[in-house]
């Protein structure tokens, strides 16, 4: 079987969605780790950002990241459209089977993946516009992202928006992480139930980390801290 043929099949597509999703999750971990340097003060934060932006390899990484992101979006959107056409006539009455049997993993999170996904994509666009392509301040000869962040999160509206966005990402990962494992064929009688829990713990952890940043920055800008 050709790889190309395999990647177009329903299972191949889901494997790609899983792989790209996990890659984006790994990116999120790195992104959070970097962002947490904000807590260490302007110098450390800006130095870290500069080291990142200043490296010519960053363009390769950005193209890679963008491709992964676009592939994830393309495969999921195409999947949703194909899945819609797999049931042309809707049911008049619909209830979750979970109601009769708790073995189902269906949740509000799992049923809204496309919604949370689309929201996340829109958020990423705004996020990039706000930060990556936002006002360029300089400090000590390098870009002062610390100041930009302080400025942006001094506005309560932005803070709320980011908190909501992080909540949405949490929701997406709540089902997404364990779902990716299932798509990749990870299964074990004892470990699968734990993996389900781990997926939720990780999604809370990562979102929790990201929650911290706008709140911390807001409080800092208001002189509370």
């Amino acid at each position: 079987m050709r790889l190309q043929q395999a990647s177009a099949s329903s299972i191949g597509s889901k494997i790609l969605v899983a792989l790209t999703g996990l890659a984006l999750f790994v990116f999120l971990i790195g992104h959070l780790a970097g962002n947490l340097l904000f807590l260490a003060g302007p110098e450390a934060f800006n130095q870290y950002a500069h080291a990142l932006i200043g490296n010519p390899l960053v363009y390769v990484a950005e193209v890679g990241l963008l491709s992964v992101f676009l592939l994830h979006v393309a495969k999921t959107v195409a999947g949703v459209l194909a899945n819609r056409s797999a049931r042309p006539t809707a049911y008049a009455t619909r209830r979750w089977a979970k109601a009769k049997n708790p073995r189902s993993r269906k949740s509000l999170a799992s049923t809204t993946m496309i919604v949370t996904g689309v929201f996340t994509a829109l958020f990423v666009a705004t996020h990039l516009a706000t930060f990556k392509f936002g006002t360029v301040y300089e400090a000590a000869g390098i870009r002062d992202l610390y100041r930009l962040q302080l400025e942006i999160f001094s506005a309560p509206g932005y803070v709320v928006f980011y908190l909501v966005a992080m909540g949405v990402i949490l929701f997406h990962l709540w089902h997404g992480l364990s779902s990716a494992a299932q798509s990749l064929g990870v299964d074990h009688p004892q470990w699968t139930p734990r993996l389900l829990v781990l997926g939720r713990v990780l999604s809370v952890a990562i979102a929790g980390g990201f929650f911290l940043i706008p709140i911390y920055t807001f409080l800092l800008s208001r002189g509370v801290l």
Binding site: A92, S179, G185, V186
Partner: protein, 249 residues
């Protein structure tokens, strides 16, 4: 203590005809009746009134042939876990209830009439590779290859699939992954099925896609309605087998 229930039943004259929900009243419903026996009684009344009875598939009426399959109040095979439609009894409902009855819905399962759908797609998926290629006469002694009990048991867990299609009916994507993976797991677990493991998964998945089923969102609603409670662990296994085959291993 006879009950009366109101039924909203999907009526559709033929594959191309439009359909709609029609309302019927079922009186003299006994709690010990099975759901299908209740429909039998409704049909008797319809025939006496000169109307067309409600068409539905059913045969063994003991939960093993896989013929019956109705979506009852929004859930395939109704309210009981691990049961088929024919195993649901009217004692699960209350006097005065309104019950909506619809056919299994999927592009790959076109409605033939009322509540009867065509599940031929499942046969074609099996024909694509759901077997061990061996001819009569060529078998070694049955005990020539020992199979650990737990492996045989897991194969049996999957082999129990009755091919009813409830997994497709409940799936928001109308996916047939649980059905397909159950056969792949059944045969793939056994030494007899090992030789064709890669070829089997590739061909069956290709056929499954060609039939117009959706893809898997890993929600496990299929497992929850499966009369035999086949686990979506089998889907993970199928994905793994598929990945191996795609990578040429």
């Amino acid at each position: 203590m006879a009950m009366t229930v109101t039924l909203k039943v999907w009526r559709q004259a033929g594959p191309a005809a439009p359909g709609r929900l029609e309302t019927y009243t079922a009186t003299n419903v006994h709690p010990d009746m099975s759901f299908l026996e209740m429909l039998d009684v409704v049909n008797e009344d319809l025939i006496r009134a000169g109307q067309d009875p409600i068409a539905f598939d059913s045969d063994c009426r003991e939960g093993i042939c896989g013929s019956c399959g109705l979506v009852i109040n929004g859930i395939p095979h109704g309210p009981d876990a691990g049961a088929t439609t024919c195993q649901v009894h009217m004692r699960r409902f209350r006097n005065g209830d309104t019950i909506t009855i619809e056919p299994f819905r999927a592009r790959a399962f076109p409605v033939l009439k009322d509540l009867v759908v065509d599940r031929g797609a499942f046969d074609r998926i099996i024909a694509a590779g759901g077997y061990v290629s061996m001819n009569v006469g060529g078998a070694p002694d049955a005990n020539a290859v020992p199979i650990p009990k737990d492996v045989a048991d897991r194969a049996m867990d999957n082999a129990q699939c009755i091919g009813c299609g409830a997994c497709v009916a409940v799936c928001k994507n109308a996916a047939a992954h649980l059905f397909t993976s159950a056969k792949i797991a059944h045969l793939g677990l056994l030494p007899q099925g090992e030789a064709e493991r890669g070829r089997r998964v590739v061909q069956m998945v290709e056929q499954m896609d060609a039939e117009g089923f959706g893809s898997c969102s890993n929600e496990g609603e299929c497992e929850a309605v499966c009369p035999k409670q086949i686990s979506i662990a089998s889907i993970a296994r199928m994905n793994r087998d598929y990945l191996k085959a795609a990578l040429g291993k």
